[in-house]
Subunit: 348 residues, 2 copies
DNA sequence: ATGAAAGCGCTAACAC
DNA sequence: GTGTTAGCGCTTTCAT
């Protein structure tokens, strides 16, 4: 932690000007090879580490991309250091946001950007957001993390890409084709299994859920099969799912398959059905949506639709990088889901 | 992405000087409350987002901490975007570095620092390292990621904490007591299971691995049991582990237990043994080291030693924050491991 | 091919 | 309590 070594120090040591040092690093082809070597040697000997702050100031960009998540991504109590040696209790499995972050991280490395992690337990905490925004050339935010005003404010400064929101004018977004994914899954149930009595557990609270429902309905319509109502069930609210299952079991005719709009619901539904003495998929089939890890660990493996989470992170970065510096407003990326046939949809 | 709003714009709008704006943000108590309000209002209307670069330049610090991981933490091919829709093949579960990173992330948030992710597939890639180092006030590096020279160079500029390296003068470190952990596990195998023919899969590439091996040897020596050689196996290089297992199976006398120096290797070893028609732990026992999630999900649960990974990340950040600005040289943190008895070590 | 010099936006003495 | 001003380290015309 000796005094900082600057371009000037390197320049002096190499017997050139600071400009030459700068060029030697950024545009070596403009400088006589020998001079470049001299400069590099001097830099090396001095232990020169260019200041990103100074460079960022001069260039007007930082070379970093931020990812801003919030609250529901974090465990309660994360702010407090846990007792040493404790075995982590919750959040054993990577969640949606973790996988997205990983994708973003990989894509950043690939493109030579640094990734800054921001986030807060308080949704829409403007000062904190601004703090992050001031450090980066582009920002990834999860839908729901920020109010429209906060988003607008940041967007006025740097490109922002929103994940999982709805397509909106002036906003960069990475969308996932929930509709097609659910349609494919539903077609499988109809065509390959021959099911005709389907139940649908879920909600219509966000554009993503609406998309899933739309795909479901489309497949049924195309097959001329009657469309069941949405039985309310919310991921994270296990009770709602159990109530939904109970309602299904009270019905006159039991459905052949329960289509759930999230894996989380599906896993709870399976649990509830089995608790009621039914075999899954022997007596009744169940499907999910998302492709979270937990779904692959149940027996049999959950039939579901996998969202390309890592790819979402990558696409977000790609979109930002394309936007940085230019002012072009790219069309939203739309990524496709993959049908994952597991064992819970029945033995054909 | 309109023209950047600066302190000067805000100052003009608020009818004050740029210094007052600066103070209003950083030391509001120094400024008349009404003036502060005026400034804030102006900033808000203008959509002022302070530039971290400029601030960093002026202050001489960035407010960010970096974490530098490398190579074996990443999947091969990570540099290349995978085909869309591909189901992620490996790395489904958080690995050692992920959990450490998570701890660092949480601790950074708690302390108001941003976390920058850096890293490279090429170990010891100096330019890339420098690039990261120039952005942060302190750097966390995984042992083995950097040569001593590279480390020294960066350490001359900013505080660096090395994870899992060896205690060395002038270097900040967070150590984990690998030796004791492995010793405890080995004692369990000797004393509780009565094993006498043990095999050891692993390497000695970093101090951590050396520590594990040392603990293993110590336990055997204490019991007067012959010490087997290290059969080379590297986490992330599944083939090396499979070769190691094949070598064991070719030996005259099959070992009773295969002690692996990472969970990753242990899981592959189990797979290879079972593929060879052996039952684990029926025919042969296996143990790991690290305590990653994947080990808890196999059947039976992997017997291992858990490192306090999240705590390692937290401790690293804490150490850096303490060091930033001061020049004090704290003693290395040493964290303890926990023996986790699973089912793969045999049914006693 | 290289040097001189003017910023980039913010902070912090130091004046007033 | 607030304004003036001199940097922080790097990039980049514009000269030479």
């Amino acid at each position: 932690m000796a005094r900082k070594v600057t371009v000037y120090d390197v320049a002096q040591r190499a017997g050139v000007s600071s400009a030459t040092v700068s060029f030697a690093f950024t545009r070596p082809e403009k400088i006589k090879p020998e001079t470049v070597r001299t400069v590099m040697a001097a830099a090396d000997e001095l232990g020169y580490v260019p200041s990103a702050s100074a460079r960022g100031l001069a260039l007007g960009r930082t070379g970093a991309i931020g990812i801003y998540s919030y609250d529901y991504v974090l465990d309660p109590g994360d702010d407090v250091a846990p007792p040493a040696g404790a075995v982590p209790s919750g959040r054993l499995f990577p969640l949606y946001a973790d996988e997205v972050q990983r994708g973003a991280q990989l894509e950043c490395r690939r493109r030579g950007y640094a990734l800054m992690l921001g986030g807060n337990r308080v949704p829409d905490h403007l000062p904190h957001l601004i703090e992050v925004a001031g450090r980066v050339d582009g920002l990834i935010v999860f839908a729901g993390a920020l109010s429209a005003e906060a988003l607008a404010k940041v967007t006025a400064r740097i490109p922002v890409v929103e994940l999982g929101g709805e397509e909106r004018a002036g906003a960069r977004t990475v969308l996932v084709d929930n509709r097609s994914g659910m349609e494919a899954l539903t077609r499988h149930l109809l065509a390959d299994h021959g099911y005709r009595r389907l139940a649908y557990l879920g909600e219509l609270g966000t554009p993503e859920f609406v998309g899933r429902r739309t795909g479901f309905v489309a497949a049924l319509d195309a097959a001329g099969v009657p469309v069941p109502d949405v039985v309310p069930s919310h991921p994270g609210d296990d009770e709602s799912t159990r109530r939904a299952v109970a309602a299904l079991l009270r019905a006159e005719e039991r459905p052949e398959v329960v289509v759930c709009d999230t894996d989380q619901s599906a896993l709870v539904a399976i649990d509830a059905l089995r608790a009621a003495g039914l075999s899954v998929p022997g007596d009744i089939a169940v499907t999910g949506f998302d492709g979270i890890l937990a779904g692959r660990l149940v027996d049999p493996v959950l039939t579901t639709v996998r969202q390309p989470m890592e790819e979402v992170g990558r696409a977000a970065v790609a979109s930002l990088v394309a936007a940085i510096g230019r002012r072009e407003q790219s069309a939203p990326d739309t990524l496709t889901c993959t049908f994952l046939r597991g064992g819970t949809c029945g033995t054909h």
